[in-house]
């Protein structure tokens, strides 16, 4: 369709950032379609006794391992005949109707088959999805999670960034590595930095499943999230797991008093070339139901690392909002994505976040890059530290609680410095390669790894090996901190260790306040039932959000 003489407007448009994004057309046969594929099964259920003998047109003896697990563990068989008899439209309207209580919606949604749930979602437009999210999320108070990573796996910088992130209001933080064998140091840096920034911060180390469990058992992390599930049998197997192994892993975490959630997201199956022609959302519904059936309290979804795929096809971002909503509708905690770069366009980046930010979710981001994106080892988040003041402005513009708060430069410098010194002390006490005063100073004032030096990586890696081999635990870290004068941080680590004795944060959507109190869907349940109900921002919180330091105040003019 080339024209001989170019329109100057089209030339300008072609050079806009959005044109760097990879858009692709639907390819239905392989499942490159966001939702509502003609290949998705037709909803059906047949129950004999208390067993599902047919689901979505397939007989029990033909079930994949995923279908069998979902049919046996994730569908409320008693309510299913009544729920399945309702039309998709009727159920979709229940979700949006403020007069239908959340509990009633849960009762119906937990008794549907995967294909039926996918169709209910396809009956909703994006504003209705947001309406439903406001009512259906489990916990009343919204929260936020960040990534703490850097391209050098520089432990001092990690500790400083973790402290700043906690101070800014992130209730959870997640790290991963450039070099796998640095994993144990990353966990240690987040533990120390996170507790320095705010007592009660939950931290995790996104690595191979067995390693994650081990550092969790040691008390170097307090929860796990990167426990992936998939929507087709072959991809699940390529992920080296089954619903049974993953459920066993979930029970293993709980047996050590550790919080955990699963991870999934639209696009992963087709990204791995094995979507079996099904739509991305239909396969994601299966993942959400596997999570439900495993008895795991929550799920991270919203496409996550595959967002380039749904982000490239029509209705993809709507499908992503749907996955978050389905998770809420099955009464699960949701850590709702927004955690990966997907566009060069600032407009698309912002629009992608609105469906989670405005209604509020348990963790709006999972997570926000609390470092510059060049240091984000999840390959970049949708928002990074350089976008922070934009985020704070948007909270203020719309009076919406995105979980973060304005902070002063002075406070940030002080907390970063304290975390870096605390890690220096731990390294010295445990005999790890020394952290110099210069490294502390550089990490305190750094923007990212561009501003810090290089560590001796082989020496650090030998030390991480030793850390794992010698079985160093959270208690050892607390002792080291106390001995070197960081008693308050040591106390915070012990407070986190005590959580695993009480187990309160095993309940749905739990986070930990600075005094050690746990808030979850059990004691802070979502009560939204129309205007004037549900989460209400306190005056104190609103004043905090209002007070961005760069706003001109009348009294100063």
């Amino acid at each position: 369709m080339a024209v001989s003489k170019r329109s100057k407007r089209f030339e300008v448009l072609e050079n806009r950032p959005v044109h760097k994004d990879g858009f692709i057309g639907e390819w239905i046969d392989v499942g490159l379609i966001a939702m509502g594929s003609p290949n998705d099964p037709k909803p059906s259920i047949r129950i004999e006794g208390d067993k599902v003998v047919e689901m979505d047109g397939r007989r029990r003896e033909e079930f994949s391992m995923i279908e069998q697990f979902v049919a046996d563990y994730a569908i409320n068989v008693k309510n299913a005949p009544e729920a399945m008899a309702k039309s998709e439209l009727e159920i979709a309207r229940m979700l949006v109707d403020v007069n239908v209580p959340r509990g009633e919606c849960i009762r119906v949604m937990t008794a549907l088959t995967p294909a039926k749930i996918a169709r209910v979602m396809d009956s909703l437009n994006i504003v209705e999805i947001m309406m439903a999210m406001q009512k259906m999320r489990c916990r009343q108070t919204p929260g936020n999670q960040c990534h703490i990573t850097n391209v050098k796996d520089h432990p001092v910088l990690l500790a400083a960034d973790a402290a700043e992130g906690a101070l800014r209001g992130f209730i959870e933080m997640e790290t991963t590595v450039g070099i796998v064998r640095y994993g144990a140091f990353n966990a240690l840096a987040l533990l120390v930095g996170g507790q320095t920034g705010r007592r009660g911060t939950l931290t995790q180390d996104a690595l191979e499943e067995a390693f994650e469990l081990e550092v969790g058992m040691r008390g170097l992390t307090s929860y796990a999230e990167t426990v992936s599930v998939y929507g087709t049998e072959s991809v699940f197997v390529d992920g080296d797991d089954t619903p049974w192994s993953k459920s066993f892993l979930a029970s293993a975490y709980a047996s050590r008093g550790l919080k955990m959630r699963f991870t999934s997201g639209t696009g992963s199956e087709v990204q791995m070339g094995a979507a079996e022609g099904k739509s991305m959302l239909y396969l994601e519904v299966l993942c959400i139901m596997v999570t439900k059936g495993a008895g795991v309290q929550g799920l991270q979804n919203g496409s996550i690392s595959c967002i380039g795929v749904p982000g490239a096809v029509p209705s993809g971002l709507r499908a992503i909002a749907c996955e978050n909503l389905v998770t809420m509708c099955l009464d699960l905690e949701v850590a709702s994505g927004n955690d990966q770069t997907f566009s060069h366009s600032d407009q698309r980046r912002t629009a992608r976040t609105i469906p989670q930010l405005f209604p509020g979710t348990d963790l709006i981001f999972s997570g926000y890059a609390a470092e510059p994106n060049y240091d984000n080892m999840f390959a970049g988040s949708n928002w990074d530290i350089d976008d922070m003041d934009d985020f704070l402005s948007i909270q203020r513009d719309f009076k919406v609680d995105g979980g973060l708060r304005p902070v002063s430069e002075e406070d940030v410098i002080a907390i970063r410095n304290k975390a870096a010194r605390a890690l220096q002390a731990v390294f010295a006490e445990l005999g790890f390669p020394p952290i110099t005063d210069e490294e502390v100073e550089l990490a305190t004032y750094a923007h990212g790894t561009k501003d810090v030096g290089d560590r001796n990586i082989p020496e650090d890696l030998k030390a991480t090996e030793r850390l794992m081999k010698e079985g160093i635990t959270g208690v050892d870290v607390a002792k080291a901190l106390a001995k070197r004068g960081f008693r308050d941080i040591a106390e915070s680590i012990i407070l986190m260790m005590r959580q695993r004795v009480a187990g309160d944060y095993l309940q749905t959507s739990a986070w930990i306040d600075s005094d050690g109190a746990v808030y979850s869907a059990v004691n802070d349940p979502n009560t939204y039932a129309g205007p004037g109900t549900g989460y209400k921002m306190s005056d104190g919180r609103w004043n905090e959000i209002k007070s961005i330091p760069w706003a001109v105040r009348a009294e100063d003019v």
Binding site: M65, F69, Y73, A74, N76, G103, I106, R107, T110, A111, T141, A210, L213, E214, M217, G219, E233, V237, T242, W244, S245, S247, F248, S251, A252, A254, S255, R256, K292, G293, A294, G295, V296, Q297, D331, V475, A478, A482, A490, E491, I494, R498, R500, V501, A502, G503, D504, L506, Q507, T508, G516, A517, V518, Y519, S520, V522, N523, D524, P525, S538
Partner: protein, 173 residues
């Protein structure tokens, strides 16, 4: 951050119980009588919490670590507490969580290293059916973990039907 109104919560919990229990499995009738009203245990029912060898929750402090009275092994959840948390989950309408915490309660007795090994054995193409069945036997006989044992037996059947056992992969060496 959270705005918690005790009265509101009590109302909501009652509402939730009414709304949800009609549908899901009925709340566990047996047990310690713990419910959502006792939550969080770490604030409201510290009296019920202790380390596996019996050190009270309140004594799990930094001072006691320094004096050597408390060690890392004291920071472990007990099967009793997992059961209580399961009852809380059930009373809030979340029966699957209670099931998971039930399995977890059984696994508290299994050593860390063995848990990791069993997890790896449950991964696809790792075990023969007999190997899985003997793990189930071990869980049942050695650790009294009968729920977990049946779960592993179920996996053995599924893996056999779906060709996920060791040797089912044609290109394995």
């Amino acid at each position: 951050m959270a705005q918690i109104n005790e009265q509101l919560i009590a109302d909501v919990v009652r509402q939730v119980l009414k709304g949800v229990n009609g549908g899901t499995q009925p709340a566990a009738a047996s047990g310690s009588g713990i419910s959502a009203a006792d939550y969080p245990l770490g604030m409201k029912r510290k009296d019920l919490l202790k380390s596996p060898r019996g050190i009270p929750f309140e004594e799990l402090t930094l001072e006691n670590i320094e004096s050597g009275k408390v060690t890392f092994d004291d920071f472990r959840i007990s099967p009793e507490v997992l059961k209580m948390q399961g009852e809380i989950a059930t009373s809030a309408g979340r029966s699957q969580i209670a099931l998971n915490l039930g399995r977890a309660g059984e696994l508290t007795k299994v050593p860390d290293a063995r848990i990791l090994e069993i997890y790896n054995s449950l991964r696809p193409h790792r075990s023969t059916k007999d190997e899985l069945l003997s793990i189930a036997e071990e869980l049942e006989k050695k650790f009294g973990a009968s729920v977990c044992a049946n779960f592993v037996r179920e996996s053995a059947d599924v893996y056999q039907r779906r060709k996920l056992l060791k040797g089912d992969l044609p290109s394995a060496e």
